[in-house]
Symmetry: C2
Subunit: 262 residues, 2 copies
DNA sequence: CTTGCCCACTCGTCTATACGAGTATGCCTG
DNA sequence: CAGGCATACTCGTATAGACGAGTGGGCAAG
């Protein structure tokens, strides 16, 4: 069926030294880029393309695997290969941790999601004391053990972010920060109540392909990188009072910063 | 040869419902993570693994292709498959465009590279007037045509970044900004001389897999995402005077921002 | 000793085939 | 009509084989 209406895809160039499966991938990519296949639309089946191009099935599958690696398409077993829809992105402003935003009570994630009409969830909460990794210890100023607060964020049921906050035990132990629910304004509000007035944050941003564990936790499609953000919060005495390690699905976020030119 | 000293890799679990090629990928990944194979080291050849696991070659190749997609290994035709070395990263501070840095004369890229002892190059310079894309036009405040300054940055011979600056013609035309070499302090220094005192920057950050063109320009290995940064410069009158669109090899950069907590 | 060729080893590409498993549809049965 | 099953279509996994092409070492000829 679906005899692959001619015109959508061209022919192969046997004289080209570009591999056949790359040529096929090129044609599909171009067709997608030009909007010949729309978001969420089904591409021709493997069998269709086998027939159209007169190649073997493995060759077609190789083409698909290229496009999957580029994050352009995704395959669904028993259904077909589809143009991957670009989910709406969440824009994170750099002032989201400004003090004035903490006064509202709700967490930044919840507030932001509500304002754009999405349904936010927080999930797999875990609060425990543990040994600090080398990296965390360095960032917090040579602490051995820390309080770790782990949680996963979902938007409309889709996991988009997994974050762990690390705090020195001498600050957090026995306070509400060590409770699953840190109360209105989150842990930053509690830190300030404890006398650690926040001065500034440092954020480090990397992008890379996810580990298998991250693929699982964030239910990532293939070809979707992660943004790895490490934020350190400093109080007015220059002490690092929290390190927050966040892994985000890169197709769900745009980070936004505002910098002075002085 | 190289009978694949037993112990490095385990056996398959035929009762597992995890696909064989995934199990092989898992074992290789774990061996790499544990340092059994070091950076740059050669993995067992396809033939070795075919023999070791008693599977067909395509199955082994599937395993390798998973690891390639994760950016863990890279194949070299005629030589073997190697653990991908992590190149040293360039750390970009958020104050790199501060006015005091402009006074030195040299561009931020050159200065930063020199301080870490790397050999910087700038390349494929192109300066021309062109039609503004929809996005650029919006960001610059509905301009139709712009001056575009394109250039590629290399570090020790490796391309790491490709950037295009867009400026409104009414500002840039006929000035030194329209020259290939914009002079000491770069275009920001020229903008200020022209009366556009810079007030602040906005930066938007995304991460995604590269397009084929980007793979080529940045000579990206498979499994390496790009960081896409769009910076808009505003003068003290609130006008957007430049938009800089930058695509960076994600394995070459860590972005760093400092934010006030107020 | 040097040059050049051959060969072994490596990954790259492609074919052909087989079976398994998830999905959707429609028909058949109760 | 409702439920369940058969079937066709989809992608997933795996095998076996073939040829091509890049690399590097060793051997042979000059």
């Amino acid at each position: 069926m679906s005899p692959l209406s001619s015109g959508l895809l061209g022919d192969l160039d046997p004289t080209s030294d570009r591999a056949v499966f790359r040529q096929i991938a090129d044609q599909l990519r171009e067709a997608i880029d030009r909007g010949r296949f729309r978001e969420g639309e089904k591409l021709p089946s493997e069998a269709d393309l086998v027939e159209h191009y007169g190649v073997s099935r493995m060759t077609v599958r190789n083409s698909f695997s290229i496009l999957q690696g580029e994050g352009l398409v995704h395959a669904e077993h028993g259904k077909g290969v589809f143009v991957r829809p670009r989910p709406p992105v969440r824009r994170l402003a750099s002032d989201r941790f400004a003090r004035r935003h903490r006064e509202q009570g709700k967490s930044a994630f919840i507030v932001e999601a509500d304002t754009v009409g999405s349904h936010p969830q927080v999930d797999s909460l875990e609060v425990k004391e543990e040994k600090a990794s080398q990296d965390i210890s360095t960032r917090l100023g040579s602490v051995r053990r820390v309080l770790a607060r782990r949680r996963r964020y979902l938007l409309d049921g889709r996991p988009v972010e997994f974050a762990t906050s690390y705090l020195p035990l001498d600050i957090a132990r026995g306070t509400q920060i060590a409770e699953p629910n840190p109360g209105p304004g989150g842990i930053y509000a509690r830190l300030e109540e404890l006398g650690h007035r926040l001065d500034h944050f440092e954020e480090e941003i990397r992008a890379r392909m996810p580990s298998p564990a991250e693929v699982k936790t964030l239910r990532l499609a293939s070809g979707v990188p992660v943004i790895h953000l490490i934020r350190t919060a400093f109080d007015t005495e220059g002490r690092a009072v929290e390190v927050c390690d966040t892994v985000m699905a890169a197709d769900a976020y745009v980070l936004s910063y505002q910098l002075p030119a002085t």
